[in-house]
Symmetry: D2
Subunit: 369 residues, 4 copies
């Protein structure tokens, strides 16, 4: 029954132009965006909108008249015309909802982070693999044009060897009730770093403070070491005088500043230090190089559209999105480790990267849209 | 006759208007500034200029014709008309030169950091105490108008309780040959934090990297916890696309950004979060407050002039500068701890603050010029 | 019965809570915004949507199902349930459409500029007066929170006497096909200046250039003199490396920068020059004062909503909006004069302000929302 | 007698390495800078320092012991070892002092502006020509690295055809007692524009205001038309909330912003409008192009050193500096015209450019250092 629609063969079969039926589950902050973009995606049909809140449902039922609404997830899973489920619910529900959908033979797109623990994230990945279904996690930032532009610079060797990365993602609010600022804002930075570097950190530390609400850290300073020698520092905060989303990456050849939201989001600095070996002089000599600064033109398109398009393409191509899944699992590992460190006085947490590193490194790039 | 000048009694005697004779030792990067300012300070006479490099000496001999020049420090110490010695030599020489001068009965001003280890710094302080001489360390930043303006805000309670501090001091160059970026740039930030908070951290951690020269860290991320709950993160680097000297301090009532070198170095943000207790509602409620932003007028004067004026005043008043000495000793402890942590994979280093905390807290402010 | 609605008496009658029926004419760039806001305005009912383009009509018919659509303006005018007509068509059609509506007994809201010549603008005002209908022109900028905040500063005397104003409104694009950059961008600045100063310029000059399209000036520098002595310079351009919408106003007590679109749109500088009379010294003495800089918190609300709310209130109150109409007529005079000057080599054009100045000055402020 | 030293032959003779003797006249604001740089210029000997103020003389006598000081200009002129006179006195004295020096057979360097009227400036040029002496005016900005960098872009055609230029040079203070802001700040912008464009404006207009001191305009908006079609607007003011020295130049291919004093003084924008002829479509079509932004590395050197080096080279080479003289004469013409326009209600003033245009255009570039 399910096979007729949701089997990979049917979906990706050469002559098939059958649309994929999807269900959107969760209409809180991000769900409505997913719904809007899916409604505009060719060959996708929104069959169900699911949420526990009837008022919300009513509002969206009016706007998307072709879709049916329900408060019962089971209705969604039982519908064989639904090929893929899009989950945008609170983090602690991700695993259950995604696992049920995979078991029902659906492809699954889950909002980030993939799950509330690395064990659950790993298990979801295994399940998807076993079910031969596509599992994707919504790390939208790796589809944003500035992040992509910097990825291309890295691949072209423009920056040389990377020495270190320093990032700030701070803002006034919004405090989350159930998770720390690391779970809330960290996935953005961690996914970007993993995407750029194709490498997991070997250890993570975090210190921070629960300034406003007891037990919920609202500021955190996370440091990471990578096997390649790269060091990264990530500042995350819900308490800041002004919004800042800025990452500096220093390489041996050039340096880059990524300032999300600025009119010039990427600035490339032709600056560096030249080290001369002490062969002739008996001691080394350094000279500082300072050249042009370039703000490359960054195209503007909505990352979410490309991301969901990739999900659909992957379903049709029976692509299991190894890199994406590895990245999503890695993000959860880093978040989990950083949160653990913060709760334990900044203790160093080593990451067990066996089984992920290869996938992350093996496919060094996501196909660019 | 000369004796009457260099004895503390004579110097601070009420009717005395006799000038203080000083010697400047070390004419590298900072020494010439000290010399210039001392030459303009009333009731101070530069008697000796001392350096190992004869060429440098010749240059300054020409400019300051009233002073004698020498490559022999002993000449300086033997001259009873010299009441105070100003030391601006490399860090590893601070202890020896300062100790000799104190033992010779001179007052001593040493460039920051006070000494190359906390043990040596403590010993210098003891020696000064035993000799009843004034020992001051040149933490010029605590005399800079923006830093003073923020100190006044803290004293007035403008910021409320401080939650955390995030600071960046980065630039392209100049690499030091003998010490890490923590020893080079750290004293600036650490002295400012100690001055503002009147409190030593209880523990320190640092991670970083020796990107260019093996064994000399050129980037470091230092985190500190304070007993009061304050958390601080300090980024230090000789590798950066552009110069940044920026400190953000987040308090319960307001937030402030100190951007050294900007046309508006201090910006006060009337922003914060209001926490309402869950008494009535069963759960807490947060609201975000966002008001005016103020760039107060900051007077401009050369901090070094005020600092050296303070040194002279302290000598005349037989003031042992407890707060200053405690601050200088504390800076060395933090630098030492951070450097140790960085060399040991980011391990947490606890500070033994016995005997310093009281001095630091007891006199909560430096008399404002 | 319908009569009772559209007659001013009925509308403003104390017990009346009858909604006002409106028609929106023109669905190009701005019309859809008017439609969206009107649909959300209490006690307003959109009865008709009118445009010559059937495709556009179809699109909006779907979205606003309670309204009827038509390509025939006569249908709108013939409907006695329509109390007010909202016109957002090209400038050259404003007069005809507005005049017809007024003659049909409707209240009228016209997008800026009011008409394509000052004679036509004056005639519309007369007609509205004769018909005892409310005529309002959509100078939305005078409802924007930063412009209002500066108006309040002026009324409070915060700036002192105004010396001069310098403004830039530049961008890359969009070239208009039928009118110069003065007709396109000028009304924004001119309406703001008139609102702030409550005073018409006595003469206007403009130089510029038709850089891209022959006969259509795409850059203009407009200068104005006011009877009070104020001088204003307004730079308008569709050719600029980056968007800038910035006005500097220099007063005897303080100076203000209004930077539309910046995160701190209003910045108040406590700076100025103190002139001391040459009584005692034989010659005058100047001293420069430089104090704090303040970025006041600016509330954020959609100006268009307040503006249309004002229109509705005016209709109900039988308020003929003398100040608004005088302002709208003045804007057309300045645009017309500047355009004439530009086409004639920058010749000075004097404005005949009889009959407008009093209305503009008599009511120095628009009631603040 | 004079011949032996100051005759061009002697000075520029191939084997000659004789130094040029110079006198610096006027030690107010700028004179000390000239003195400092001349003292460091190879093959230049400062023979005299001349000023009416004995105190100033005493101060500089001490610093430049090889030079003689005098309050009598005649002493300077009578000294045959003086080959060139450097004049940095108030504007109204330029003509007399320079003319005397030229008649005495000296080469002359005069601070900008060259003279207090175009007639006097022209006369000085004639005199220098008749005397076969080098006359140079200190328009230092055309030696500044950012201005040079933009000149090279113009020569390379990087910007395409220039459409217009908009410039702001504003600051708080310092009011001059004898001349308007046009005479004070205008020469900077006018010299830069003339250097870049190699073209004089055909007419000039200015409006402004004497806000603080009666009769001394402290703000002015100057507009210029050039025969090539270029339009320029220059805002000059001693009354401004913050310092701004910014010039925008819009060309058919690219646009450039020159922001003097910014960390990135030159920013090149690959932006423009593409006009497609209405051949096929019946009407024209515009498209907007927006590419990279480049901040080229600008070398840093002191413009004054290069400028005075050029003066010395010109003396030795018997170069009469036609372009420079034409530029200096042109600056005075524009200043004079703008000042006249401002005093006469903004009337258009046409420039008679016969005899200057060729020199300005004929040698399109100053040899780059």
């Amino acid at each position: 029954m399910l096979k007729s629609i949701s089997s990979p063969n049917a979906i990706s079969g050469a002559p098939s132009t059958d649309p994929i039926g999807v269900a959107v589950v969760g209409l809180g902050y991000w769900g409505p965006n997913l719904l809007r973009v899916l409604a505009d995606t060719p060959n996708v049909e929104v069959r169900w909108i699911c949420d526990l809140d009837r008022e919300r449902l009513a509002k969206f039922e009016h706007r998307y008249q072709a879709a049916r609404v329900t408060t019962h997830y089971a209705n969604v899973l039982a519908d064989s015309s639904v090929g893929a489920v899009i989950i945008a619910t609170p983090v602690h529900t991700h695993y259950d909802l995604a696992a049920q959908a995979l078991r029902a033979g659906k492809h699954v797109f889950v909002e980030k982070p993939l799950a509330s623990s690395s064990a659950l994230a790993d298990h979801l990945a295994e399940l998807a693999n076993g079910q031969q279904r596509t599992l994707m996690c919504g790390h939208t930032f790796i589809y944003s044009p500035p992040v992509r532009a910097i990825k291309r610079m890295l691949e072209a060797g423009t920056l040389g060897d990377i020495y270190f990365i320093s990032s700030s993602r701070v803002n006034l609010g919004l405090h989350q009730r159930d998770v720390s600022v690391i779970w809330d804002l960290g996935p953005h930075d961690f996914s970007i770093l993993l995407y750029w570097l194709s490498e997991l950190p070997t250890n993570v530390r975090a210190v921070g403070r629960d300034s406003i609400v007891k037990g919920i850290a609202d500021v955190a300073f996370v440091t990471m070491n990578f096997a390649s020698g790269i060091v990264a520092n990530v500042e995350l905060s819900w308490l800041a005088p002004s919004k800042l989303r800025r990452t500096v990456m220093v390489g041996s050849e050039r340096m880059v500043i990524y300032d999300d939201g600025a009119s010039e989001p990427v600035r490339l600095f032709d600056r560096g230090v030249v080290y001369r070996d002490p062969e002739t002089f008996g001691e080394y000599h350094l000279s500082y190089r300072s050249g042009d600064i370039l703000s490359p033109k960054i195209e503007s398109h909505e990352p979410l559209g490309v991301e969901l398009g990739d999900f659909v393409k992957a379903i049709r191509a029976e692509d299991r999105m190894e890199f994406h899944t590895a990245l999503a699992r890695s993000v959860v590992r880093i978040v989990e480790a950083a949160d653990h460190s913060l709760r334990n006085g900044g203790v160093q947490v080593c990451l067990d990267n066996s089984g992920i590193s290869d996938q992350l490194a093996g496919r060094r790039e996501v196909a660019l849209a």
